[in-house]
């Protein structure tokens, strides 16, 4: 009996026992769909987080004042006297000093109250210079951004985030309007693009709720208390992601020499590469994916046990058929193969239908939930392979039992 005949016999058995086959396929199908959707959700979330982080600006180094021994001590300089100055930022911006640094943007920020007419809105006011736009990866939707001459003239101009503009001016065109920042009337020259932040309303993370002013204006006229030339931090953008570590070393060496520090461990600032943020966020999402995938895997396992159960029932129910086939000349190997084919056909059909349902779900679900689903080709192919594998693996035992049945006992059973 050749393979084709065995396959045909197995397939016929699947068709003959439609209901039972259907239910088994359903079990596998649900398992596969669960795997595809959960892995897809996990990967979607992972991609979303990394794209949100990328939206903050790519290849970024953040230099913060204050030293810390902890690698994650980004807040080390908080509240302490700022050791970073505008001059440091200007020095890093030099192509000769740091060829791998693409753009530098010093920022100093404070929370201030903004007043436009009768409307009052408190937001983060960021003092910086023109390359902030490049470093942060932002753009302007209305008007213009801060230019070089605004810095030299310490112009009283402000660029608003889209949320801030809406809060202050509503539907009115904000460009050309006047807004009072910490008592100083400033004219609005532009509005930033919307990056659609995560909906978190805390002012430090909402990239759409801020007001950008020339850093010179900020330090001399808006923010009191600090040394005139000090900055909150310096954002450094490497020329590409591959030169990030070179840019890190150049910035570090330059700052050490500017601050007159001989031992790197004594540095009065901290450089945080953004990649560490990305990798942290990504690893959190990976954990999530693994967790969800694990749960889905369990449902797949349950589906597999379902196949085994059905095949065992099938063997018991078809003892007479097996006995007859053996009496008519089927060898144990042929019987075993027939049942294996049945089991793997159930697995394959369940797998293919499960992938179909999974893809359909991935297409429909994002319309109802806010999370994106990213279908992973590897997970999909893997799911089908696993489904067939489950069919075969869980079919081996019942098939072996069927093959071992003595034909007389089988024929005698009523």
């Amino acid at each position: 009996m050749n393979v084709l005949e065995t396959f045909r016999t197995g397939l016929e058995a699947v068709v003959t026992h439609r209901l039972r086959s259907g239910l088994t396929i359903l079990g596998i199908m649900i398992g596969i769909t669960a795997v595809i959707l959960t892995v897809g959700l996990g990967e979607g979330a992972q991609q979303q987080v990394s794209s949100e982080i990328t939206a903050l600006g790519s290849n970024l180094l953040t230099i913060s004042p204050g030293s810390t021994t902890s690698s994650s001590g980004i807040r080390g300089g908080f509240g302490t006297a700022s050791t970073l100055t505008l001059a440091n930022a200007t020095a890093l911006d030099s192509k000769t000093v740091a060829p791998d640094i693409g753009a530098v943007a010093p920022t100093s920020s404070e929370s201030e109250s903004l007043v436009a007419g009768t409307t009052n809105w408190t937001t983060t006011v960021v003092g910086t210079w023109p390359s902030w736009l490049t470093v942060r990866g932002r753009s302007i939707t209305q008007g213009r951004f801060i230019a070089g001459h605004d810095l030299t003239t310490r112009a009283d101009v402000v660029v608003l985030g889209s949320t801030t503009a809406e809060e202050l001016f509503g539907a009115r065109d904000p460009v050309g309007q006047t807004v009072t920042v910490a008592g100083l009337p400033m004219s609005v020259i532009g509005v930033l693009n919307t990056v659609g932040s995560s909906g978190d309303s805390s002012s430090t993370s909402d990239q759409d709720d801020q007001a950008i002013v020339p850093i010179t204006t900020a330090s001399t006229q808006l923010f009191g208390g600090t040394t005139r030339n000090s900055v909150s931090d310096i954002l450094v953008q490497a020329t590409s992601s591959s030169t990030l570590s070179a840019a890190y070393q150049e910035a570090n060496a330059e700052l050490l020499s500017l601050h007159g520090i001989t031992t790197p461990a004594d540095a009065d600032y901290t450089i945080t590469p953004e990649t560490s943020l990305v990798s942290t966020a990504t690893s959190v999402d990976k954990t999530l994916t693994v967790l969800l995938g694990g749960i889905a895997g369990i449902s797949l396992l349950v589906g597999g046990i379902g196949v085994m159960n059905i095949m065992l029932v099938s063997v018991t129910e078809r003892i007479r058929e097996i006995g007859l086939r053996k009496a008519l000349g089927a060898t144990p190997r042929v019987i075993r193969r027939q049942f294996l084919v049945e089991a793997s056909v159930l697995g394959l059909l369940g797998g293919v239908l499960g992938v179909g349902l999974g893809l359909l779900g991935a297409w429909i679900l994002p319309h109802f939930i806010s999370d994106p689903i990213r279908i992973s080709a590897a997970a999909t192919a893997g799911a089908i392979v696993v489904a067939i594998g489950i069919g075969v693996a869980f079919g081996v035992y019942p098939a072996g039992r069927a093959a071992k049945l003595p034909p007389i006992d089988a024929l005698r059973s009523e």
Binding site: M1, N2, T9, L324, A327, G329, A330, T331, L411
Partner: protein
């Protein structure tokens, strides 16, 4: 697996005792047996049973179902094996049908020693040499009549078109040429048993083994099936009929009575005198 070089199509039956074509050596090489050195020629019995014993051990209890049975059946004979239940009749049938092997003694079927064969070899012998007719018909309910008949040919490795041709010829032979697409559920008991007989014929076996073929049939259908067996016998088939029914046994030309695992040969009339 190669296709046996046997004549296909309708076996030459009903030609007033026309002899079947002699077997060829190709048949034995099919099942990859050690050459026996002897050709199963017509002068040699189809079945040679010598001192066959079968013991079943059920835990500590040993039951001797066959206690040294010896007999021979010639090619073309129609033999009934008769005995009450528990006589060892079923055990004998299983051994003759190569569904089981004897504990001791030897059993030669068409010149091959079956008693020492492996499970796979037994499967091949059942497939090539024996046609079964069971009391329960044992047809697969999901398959049409002709698909049931072709089953043994599938396991013989015969290709699809030849299978259908032979299955249809066999069904025609038992008078069901117009019922080939009917499923067992759509046929009467007698017709189902005819399908089973067609399935037994389709491989052109050396032996047709009928185990209580009329046990599940009404008298009219039973007569029908017995007439069919008689007709097959007349066309030269070797038939062993296993039954507990004396009326059915009289259909055969020779009756072997079995009781307590032992055989009593002879005419029904002779042996009936000694046994109840």
């Amino acid at each position: 697996m190669t296709t046996p070089e046997r004549p296909t199509g309708s076996p030459a039956i009903g030609g007033g005792g026309a002899a079947r074509p002699p077997l060829t050596l190709d048949d034995t090489s099919e099942v990859r047996l050690e050459p026996t050195g002897r050709h199963p020629a017509l002068d040699r019995p189809v079945i040679e049973v010598d001192e066959v014993r079968k013991t079943y051990s059920n835990g500590s209890l040993e039951v001797e179902a066959l206690r040294g049975v010896s007999f021979g059946i010639q090619s073309g004979e129609y033999v009934a094996v008769m005995g009450p239940s528990g006589s060892g009749k079923s055990t004998l049938m299983h051994i003759l049908g190569c569904l089981d092997v004897p504990t001791s003694g030897s059993f030669w079927l068409a010149g091959e020693d079956v008693s020492t064969m492996s499970e796979d070899e037994l499967a091949h012998v059942r497939n090539r040499r024996i046609g079964f007719v069971f009391q329960q018909f044992n047809l697969l309910a999901s398959l049409s009549a002709w698909r049931n008949v072709e089953l043994p040919l599938i396991y013989a490795g015969i290709d699809r078109s030849a299978r259908k041709e032979r299955a249809l010829a066999a069904l025609d032979r038992v008078g069901l040429g117009d019922r080939i697409e009917h499923r067992p559920g759509e046929l009467s008991g007698g017709q189902q048993q005819r399908v089973a007989v067609a399935r037994a014929l389709v491989t052109d076996p050396d032996l047709i083994l009928a185990d209580e073929p009329t046990g599940n049939l009404d008298s009219v259908s039973a007569r029908d099936v017995l007439d069919l067996l008689e007709e097959l016998h007349r066309s030269g088939r070797t038939i062993v009929l296993i039954t507990h029914d004396a009326d059915v046994a009289t259909e055969a030309e020779r009756v072997m009575r079995i009781r307590d695992g032992e055989i009593f040969e002879g005419d029904l009339a002779d042996s009936a005198a000694g046994l109840p």
